[in-house]
Amino acid sequence: MKSRIPLILLACGSFNPITNMHMRLFELARDHLHQTGRYQVIEGIMSPVSDDYRKKGLVSAKHRIAMAKLALETSDWIRVDSWESEQETWTETVKVLRHHYNESLRSLQSRQEFMANKRPTQRPPGDSLSSQHTVLPELKLLCGADILQTFKTPNLWKEEDIKEIVEKFGLVCVSRAGSDPVQYINESDLLTKFQHNIFLVKEWIQNEISATQIRRALCRGLSVKYLVPDSVISYITHHNIYTEESERRNEGDLLQPLKLRNPTVNPLND
């Protein structure tokens, strides 16, 4: 029996706030990858973007992390990681991927050392346990299929970053009804070249709970129950997080990635 490749799924985004749909993306992706017969999903990581991303209506990372933690309390495989949000400046997604890949190698190494120190004599050479451990984990970026479209947005992504993401890591795209991810891939030479590393997952239940819609409903006093976990709703109510005022945050500001890569806006940065 061939052993499966251990796989970690990483989702980057605002999570402003986290919704049931974000969690569904992970569930759908895991089902899909397990059905390929080649992968064993060992972990899911949600990485909320830092405040420096400057997206309109983005509330503080402290709150976004706290809400994601509450939402994931009941999951035994998805967790929140605050590394990205703790960086002083906005971090390119490829750097977040590199960080988590190194982290996963480090933890694998320490686990192996632990095993080696614990039972140095009991372990026969080349037993199943050790051979399983030498299979390096893969880390893939989990995203909605709409991210493929944003690759075309000028200045939002660096070409070499996209290349590194699809070449070294890989993409797991959950496609929503009405979008045609195959077409996005065909329209790009780069994506076509690495399409073996792009996994397209069909969403069999249309479930487009966007965080923007959630914030709008909250500002209008409408119910978001069953769209967002109860614990998150209580947190939002308790801290009065989403208001008309919070929605105006960063208004008129340029997204950090656009600012960094647009010389007419920030000539010193190029």
Binding site: N20, M21, M23, R24, E27, L28, R30, D31, T74, S75, W204, I205, Q206, N207, E208, I209, S210, Q213, A217, L222, S223, K225, Y226, L227, D230
Partner: protein, 284 residues
């Protein structure tokens, strides 16, 4: 009484009938959307939501026992402070027309009830006829006791997704006089997707058109496509249904292994109870 207090809101109870096989987050969302809608009108106040799972005698394909469906609905509504499950319909040995379920809940809410002395004095009538009894109820003491809070009976409205409205067209599934009474005396609340053909459907039906003021169309602002059929299919295929049904419901399904290819074959080839009943009615 003739001069209605403009601040006085009509109380509404929302009743959802269906298989709930199993209950999903979509069913629960219907209630939240309808409540927001009524409260925003400023004229209505939703005081309660009732989930009434259909009895096993409905004979729908893949319908598992009412006992399990009621339990799951109860687990799902545990965290709600206004939606509850009523098993009266599911306990009936024969399939019951939705109209009868509506009537039952209407009567239950407006009949003398020891736990609700406020309504003891009010005879069992339809809200529209109440004014005729006005002279009998001019007792000043009673009025004082009741204070400004005196309300007419709550209206029981049938809550449904747009698919139910469209099912009105299926031959023999509904009786014309039942549809008429539902829309004329109770009212319908229909949650529909933006750009849905519900408006056109009402326009094309003379009965629905006549009572269109009693049909409340609530637009769903987040597309929600979680059907029980899809949930059962996912379960049979070993796919995750997490975050589509409440965690407690998922745990219950797994513990009792409720949905399998075998359970899906239940009632296969059996004619749906309403079709059987109405077809034989029309022959007689």
């Amino acid at each position: 009484m003739a001069m209605e207090d403009p601040d006085k809101k009509t109380e509404v109870v929302l009743l959802a009938c269906g298989s709930f096989n199993p209950i999903t987050n979509m069913h629960l969302r219907l209630f939240e959307l309808a409540k927001d809608y009524f409260n925003e009108t400023g004229k209505y106040k939703v005081i309660k939501g009732i989930i009434s799972p259909v009895g096993d005698a409905y004979k729908k394909k893949g319908l598992i026992s009412a006992n399990h469906r009621v339990t799951m609905a109860k687990l799902a509504t545990k965290s709600s402070d206004w939606v509850e499950v009523d098993d009266w319909e599911s306990c009936q040995s024969e399939w019951l027309e939705t109209l009868k379920v509506l009537r039952y809940h209407h009567q239950k809410l407006s009949s003398p009830d020891p736990t609700n002395s406020l309504q003891n004095a009010i005879p069992l009538t339809k809200p529209g006829r109440k004014r005729k009894q006005e002279p009998n109820r001019h007792d000043p003491i009673k009025k004082k006791n009741q204070g400004p809070d005196i309300k007419s009976f709550p209206q029981v409205k049938l809550l449904c997704g747009s698919d139910m409205l469209e099912s009105f067209e299926i031959p023999n599934l509904w009786k014309l006089e039942d549809i008429t009474e539902i829309v004329a005396n109770h009212g319908l609340v229909c949650i529909s997707r933006a750009g849905n053909s519900v408006q056109k459907f009402i326009y094309e039906s003379d009965i629905l058109w006549r009572h269109k003021n009693n049909i409340h169309l609530v637009e769903e602002w987040i597309t929600n496509d979680i059907s029980s059929t899809k949930i059962r299919r996912a379960l049979r295929r070993g796919q995750s249904i997490r975050y589509l049904v409440p965690d407690a419901v998922q745990a219950y399904i797994e513990k009792h292994n409720l949905y399998s290819p075998e359970s899906e074959d239940r009632n296969a080839g059996v004619v749906l109870a309403p079709l059987q009943k109405h077809a034989s009615d029309s022959k007689n």
